[in-house]
């Protein structure tokens, strides 16, 4: 891509209201959306608010909506976009707007605190260490790739469209709960909370969260559905409940 001009239609506004404004700027090969936004900030709109940090897709700070799709701005290359029309860059819709491209995602950190902490079994060895088979931790290692960009929370229609922040913790926190719940050392039972307080039943498996995850975590198939199945085991399936009762009696 030789140097050319492209127009970026960026949301400008705060809690009181705002509008999309067009910023034509020069773009060149290898640029990502965040580069263009920084260029506009430096040359045309010094007061443009944008949250960013690593520029490498690992800090999860520059989450935004590029042409209506939740994306990390630093991982969205301009050669993936049609530059013949203005590129729309807006803030995440699911969260309260602070200013321009910056939203208040603090609800996520509060919601995370409601999930029961890791509670390991007693150590396996006298020196206070545990023995874990690699195969047993591999499943949860996928979940630890999460960079907490909250794009999955943004795209989830339960939070985005229905604003059910009190009833549903969202895909990111279901991934976190799955990482704890499936951990081979963990002894805590989060299943009743997942059903009642965390609202796993509100997920209707649209897989939008999986599609937008920049770390390619298979959120729906590997975290949410297995949690739904565990909830069924403990709270809905009478045969599984009976089986578990007989086994604990033995």
């Amino acid at each position: 891509m030789a140097a050319e001009r492209a127009t970026f239609r960026i949301w400008r506004g705060d809690a009181q209201g705002g509008t999309f404004q067009d910023y034509p700027t020069k773009v060149s090969e290898g640029m990502v959306v965040l580069d263009a936004v920084h260029q506009i900030q430096a040359e045309q709109a010094n007061d443009l608010a944008v949250r960013w940090n690593c520029k490498a897709g690992k800090c999860g700070s520059c989450s935004a909506e590029v042409n209506g799709n939740p994306r990390l701005m630093c991982m969205t290359r301009l050669n993936q976009l049609d530059l013949s029309v203005p590129v729309t860059v807006g803030p995440m819709h699911a969260f309260p707007l602070i200013r321009d491209l910056v939203t208040d995602v603090s609800w996520n950190f509060e919601a995370k605190k409601r999930i029961k902490r890791f509670k390991p079994r007693p150590p396996d060895a006298p020196d206070g260490t545990w023995r874990i088979a690699q195969g047993d931790v591999e499943r949860v290692q996928e979940f630890r790739k999460c960079i907490e960009c909250f794009l999955c929370q943004d795209v989830c229609h339960v939070l985005r469209d229905h604003q059910m922040f009190d009833a549903f913790i969202g895909p990111r926190h279901l991934v976190y709960a799955a990482a704890l719940e499936m951990h081979p050392l963990d002894t805590e039972n989060r299943i009743p909370d997942l059903k009642r307080a965390h609202g796993v039943g509100y997920c209707n498996i649209t897989k939008c969260c999986t599609k937008v995850c920049p770390e390619s975590i298979t959120i729906t198939d590997n975290a949410i559905i297995p949690l739904k199945e565990r909830v069924i085991d403990q709270l809905y399936d009478p045969v599984a409940m009976l089986f578990r009762k007989l086994r604990t009696r033995d």
């Binding site: 803030p91 309260p96 208040d104 039943g201 729906t220 809905y236």
Partner: protein
């Protein structure tokens, strides 16, 4: 320095409103047309009650024939308790099992919530309703019976497997002597059973039962192997779901058209 924020959001999107520029509507439309076509055909075929047998072939819509007029029937003709107002067909007894399995399938749920109920129409596309219950309350809480549908459907699949075995034994119309052979119909029924197996054994509930329900799979090497196999199939669950849906419909159509004399079954050997 603390930042004070007021919880104000951008305007709530109206139905179909989105900032997306891709053709987001194609996928739900294809799902809608695909599932609707199958539903219409399967309902029509189930109510026919005829042309479901041809030589050694049995349509998967009609197998097992629990009650029915043919010699394959397990318990004879139509039961006396069958309501007079409801047209009888052997398929009406068996078809609800795979139908409910697919209806409660995790893949199809996500697909038809979008395509038929616009909940949401597609990712980041505005919805028609403001209220939302999800699968947390009646009626969608009933989706949790999926694993029971899996158990029953596994039994039906075993019978379809036996049908494939029966489909390689051809009776000579003149002498009545039975000989081994393979026809196009045998291959159609066999392919259908293979794809149905891939769909059924790659099911999310099967994955949970095979080992997903335990945290220390290393203690059960067999469980670890089963879990790995099911996980491998599960990665392509959508592909298994659609291909098996197509072949199950096509198997019925093949047997039906052969039985009606529209198509001739080619005997390979």
């Amino acid at each position: 320095m603390s930042i004070s924020t007021v919880p104000v959001r951008l305007a709530h999107p109206r139905f179909g409103e989105t900032g997306r520029r891709d053709a987001w509507w194609i996928q739900p439309l294809v799902v809608f047309l695909g599932l609707s076509t199958f539903l219409v055909y399967a309902t029509w075929a189930a109510f026919q009650g005829d042309h479901y047998l041809y030589g050694p072939y049995v349509s998967p819509f009609y197998s097992p024939e629990v009650f029915g007029p043919s010699a394959h029937s397990w318990f004879g003709p139509k039961p006396a308790v069958w309501p007079a107002w409801l047209p009888f067909s052997p398929a009406l007894i068996i078809l609800p099992i795979p139908a409910f399995f697919r209806l409660t399938c995790y893949y199809y749920r996500g697909a038809y919530y979008k395509a038929f109920w616009a909940d949401p129409p597609s990712c980041t596309v505005g919805e028609p309703r403001s209220s939302y219950w999800g699968e947390n309350s009646f009626p969608l809480i009933l989706q949790n019976i999926h694993r029971y549908m899996l158990f029953i459907s596994t039994g039906v699949l075993l019978i379809l497997l036996f049908d494939v075995w029966k489909a390689v034994w051809f009776a000579d119309p003149t002498t009545g002597a039975v000989s081994f052979g393979v026809g196009i119909g045998t291959l159609v029924l066999a392919l259908n059973t293979v794809l149905l197996s891939g769909y059924l054994f790659g099911c999310h509930s099967m994955r949970h039962i095979a080992g997903g329900c335990v945290d220390q799979l290393s203690r059960a090497p067999l469980g670890l192997r089963a879990y790995s196999c099911v996980t491998c199939l599960n990665r392509r669950h959508m592909v298994w779901a659609w291909t098996s849906l197509f072949t199950v419909g096509f198997s019925d159509l093949y047997v039906r058209l052969c039985s009606m004399g529209v198509w001739s079954d080619l005997r390979i050997f």
